[in-house]
């Protein structure tokens, strides 16, 4: 018995030793040179490989930056990370406007009216295959959480009324949800308290009320009441001038269907400014 164990230890140990030597040599001979600059950049990146920068992962981004690209940014790391990269490279890099994802629909269960009963696969893309979704409003949120599943930061959860909720403290604005949403109702907006109309319907105004209680009826009241002239109706829906808007909240209050939303990201913005 004992010799058998001994044999096994010797054989495996011996093999391990030989292979370790081979690997050691291979490591030296076949090593891919990585510039110390690239490594340093890679170390300051968030490392989630989300792909928001347009590269497959953080390695690709670090490589491109080290190669001299200056037109790219890491939207997830934001100002902080870009600042660090600038320090490493010793040059000034373009600033990042931090962004968050906003859901431009308020038509959850009971608010948006159904077109038919859906019993298919629990996926928005699948639901859209059948008569463009199960709600009368064909632009509305389908509520099966394709965005929730795709978020690499766990920032989106499905609310009780089947509308996704974005946790702005976790959202980095990587845009994965934007690409995943078959309805195109998720948008990236500048982080500082974005204001938007939470509706993208193309239904004629008269039909909106029948289709959804929270839909924009296109009355244009927001344009009229705005003291700063920051809201303008463009076609069917209002568009906000984010620079002019003071977030006074007059339009939010006056909107007859309460379709205008100011996303409360203030707390987070304050904390980042104090920390940096």
């Amino acid at each position: 018995m004992a010799p058998l164990i001994l044999k096994a230890i010797l054989v495996l140990g011996g093999l391990g030793f030989v292979f370790s030597i081979i690997l050691g040599i291979a490591h030296q001979r076949l090593a891919v040179p990585v510039s110390p600059k690239e490594k340093a950049i890679r170390d300051v990146l968030p490392g989630v490989n989300c792909g928001a920068c347009g590269f497959a992962g953080c390695d690709g981004f670090a490589h491109a930056i080290a190669e001299g690209r200056t037109d790219i940014v890491c939207p997830v790391g934001g100002e902080e990370v870009m600042q660090k990269i600038s320090e490493i490279l010793g040059i000034e890099l373009g600033g990042v406007v931090p962004k968050v994802a906003v859901i431009r629909c308020k038509g959850g269960t009971g608010i948006a009216q159904p077109k038919y009963e859906y019993y298919g696969v629990e996926s928005c893309t699948a639901a859209k295959l059948l008569h463009r979704g199960h709600k009368i409003c064909e632009q509305g949120c389908l509520g099966f959480g394709d965005c929730v599943r795709v978020c690499p930061f766990g920032a989106i959860t499905m609310g009780e009324n089947r509308l996704p909720v974005v946790d702005y403290s976790l959202c980095t604005g990587c845009g994965k949800c934007v690409a995943a949403c078959p309805q195109g109702i998720i948008e990236l907006m500048p982080r500082a308290n974005p204001i938007y109309v939470a509706c993208k319907t193309t239904l004629p105004m008269k039909q909106v009320r029948l289709a959804c209680k929270a839909g924009c009826i296109g009355c244009g009241l927001c344009e009229k009441v705005c003291p700063e002239d920051a809201v303008h109706m463009e076609g069917r829906l209002p568009v906000f001038d984010l620079d002019k808007c003071t977030r006074c909240g007059t339009c939010v209050e006056k909107c007859p269907t309460k379709a205008i939303v100011i996303a409360e990201t203030e707390a987070r913005v304050a904390s980042t400014t104090t920390s940096s």
């Binding site: 019993y119 298919g120 696969v121 295959l129």
Partner: protein
């Protein structure tokens, strides 16, 4: 007479329910007051509208001009005034531009000129078919002139007229074969000339003895061979039909032209016959209205007639409807409104009561393997669906998701009532989007 019956591997036996309408001769449905004619009733690109609101059209006026290689012409089915051109729901579940025509009751038709196909060259035959807007009437609505013009290196040596009609409930092809056997064979002969095919078959399932008898009597005259198929779903699928009749297997990712066989539905053959004998473009088709309606029947319907009119013609619902399906119950698509128009690919309308509707429960797979046994394409549906569910699209592609024809046999037999077909459709959609 004892006949040899051929078939393919896999497939399912489903309750047929054909008795509801198989003895009902095809009736002509009156013209609708308003026809909504989608500009895309075929596989491929939309047709370009050639009319504008306010124009007056006659029956058979071309209202949509094909654009691009895969596309088909669209013709008016009634005489009257074009009211508007607007987006409208389509039976396949999308929204497409449609021409709304208000009937003026005059019933005026364009001048149709019959053509002697015997005197035409294959190219001229194909051109005539293209002009008439003929598409496959078995349901998929693939433009026939495209199918008839394969790339030069491919040759068709045989053709099959598809009279299998394997979908439960539907009987319109059967009625056509019984009532217009001669015309179908003549249409088949036209296709054959266009193709230059040596051998020609007509495949019919053995649950249609009357049609087989009719065809047996007339086929020798046109040099067609009648092949009796075992009744099994999906026997009428192109690839399965080729396998059963010629023994050839279409390679994965390939088309029937890769094995030199051309398949065409009997309804299309009839429509082609009408193009040449009467000069008539495709503006009406046969539709079976069946299931939970008071008087199930077979109707000859103008394209663009709202489904509501067909239900009314069948005496209305006999029970509160649970599901309204356009097409057969296996591959058809449920509708949420009766205002959907009949299009070139509408083979039937099946109404199910709420009690008849089986909802997908999507319970966990119990690894019974039924879906593997029945899959006519030899896939592993449960595995493919699972790959899509966990979003591993590459693995799904590797396991042949694109070979699936969505016949629904797997979902039909699944004891866990999984949404297999829907997962596969989802996976295909994602792959198609990626390829773009």
């Amino acid at each position: 007479m004892k006949l040899k019956r051929v078939t393919f591997q896999g497939g399912v036996r489903v309750p047929e329910h054909k008795e509801l309408t198989e003895d009902k001769p095809i009736e002509v449905l009156p013209e609708p007051e308003l026809a909504i004619i989608p500009l895309s009733q075929h596989t491929g690109k939309f047709a370009n509208p050639t009319v504008k609101p306010g124009d007056r059209v006659k029956i058979g006026t071309k209202i949509g001009e094909l654009q691009g290689f895969i596309s088909a012409n669209v013709h008016s089915s009634i005489a009257g005034k074009v009211v508007k051109i607007d987006e409208y729901p389509h039976p396949v579940g999308t929204t497409v531009p449609a021409v709304f025509i208000e009937n003026d009751g005059s019933g005026e038709t364009e001048e149709f000129t019959p053509k002697d196909w015997d005197a035409l060259s294959p190219q001229e035959i194909i051109e005539t078919i293209k002009e008439a807007g003929i598409v496959g009437l078995g349901g998929a609505a693939f433009p026939t002139h495209v199918k008839l013009s394969p790339p030069p290196e491919k040759r068709f040596h045989s053709m099959i007229l598809n009279g299998a009609e394997c979908e439960p409930y539907l009987t319109i092809d059967y009625r056509l074969m019984v009532e217009h056997a001669k015309e179908i064979l003549e249409g088949g002969a036209i296709i054959r000339k266009a193709l230059g095919a040596k051998t020609a078959y007509i495949g019919i399932e053995d649950n249609k003895p009357e049609a087989i008898e009719q065809m047996m009597k007339l086929a020798p005259e046109y040099d067609f061979e009648v092949v009796v198929l075992r009744t099994k779903y999906p026997q009428g699928s192109e690839k399965q039909l080729i396998k059963a009749i010629t023994g050839k297997e279409v390679p994965s990712g390939g088309l029937p032209m890769d094995v030199g066989v051309y398949v065409q539905n009997v309804g299309t053959a009839y429509a082609i016959y009408e193009v040449f004998s009467k000069g008539k473009p495709l503006y009406e088709r046969g539709v079976t209205v069946t299931g939970k309606v008071k008087e199930p029947k077979n109707l000859l319907v103008r394209i663009g007639t709202p489904v509501k009119k067909l239900i009314e013609a069948a005496g209305g619902y006999s029970e509160p409807p649970g599901k309204l399906i356009i097409g057969g119950p296996m591959m058809g698509i449920s509708q949420y409104t009766e205002d959907i128009p009949v299009v070139k690919g509408t083979t039937g309308i099946v109404v199910q009561s709420a009690a008849e509707v089986t909802l997908p429960l999507d319970l966990p797979c119990i690894r019974c393997g039924f879906c593997v046994d029945v899959c006519p394409m030899g896939l592993v549906p449960t595995l493919v669906a699972d790959y899509v569910r966990v979003n591993d699209i590459d693995a799904a592609e590797e396991w042949g998701i694109m070979d699936c024809m969505e016949c629904g046999s797997c979902a039909y037999v699944c004891p866990a009532k999984r949404n297999l077909v829907h997962y596969i459709k989802l996976g295909k959609t994602i792959i198609m989007k990626r390829r773009k």
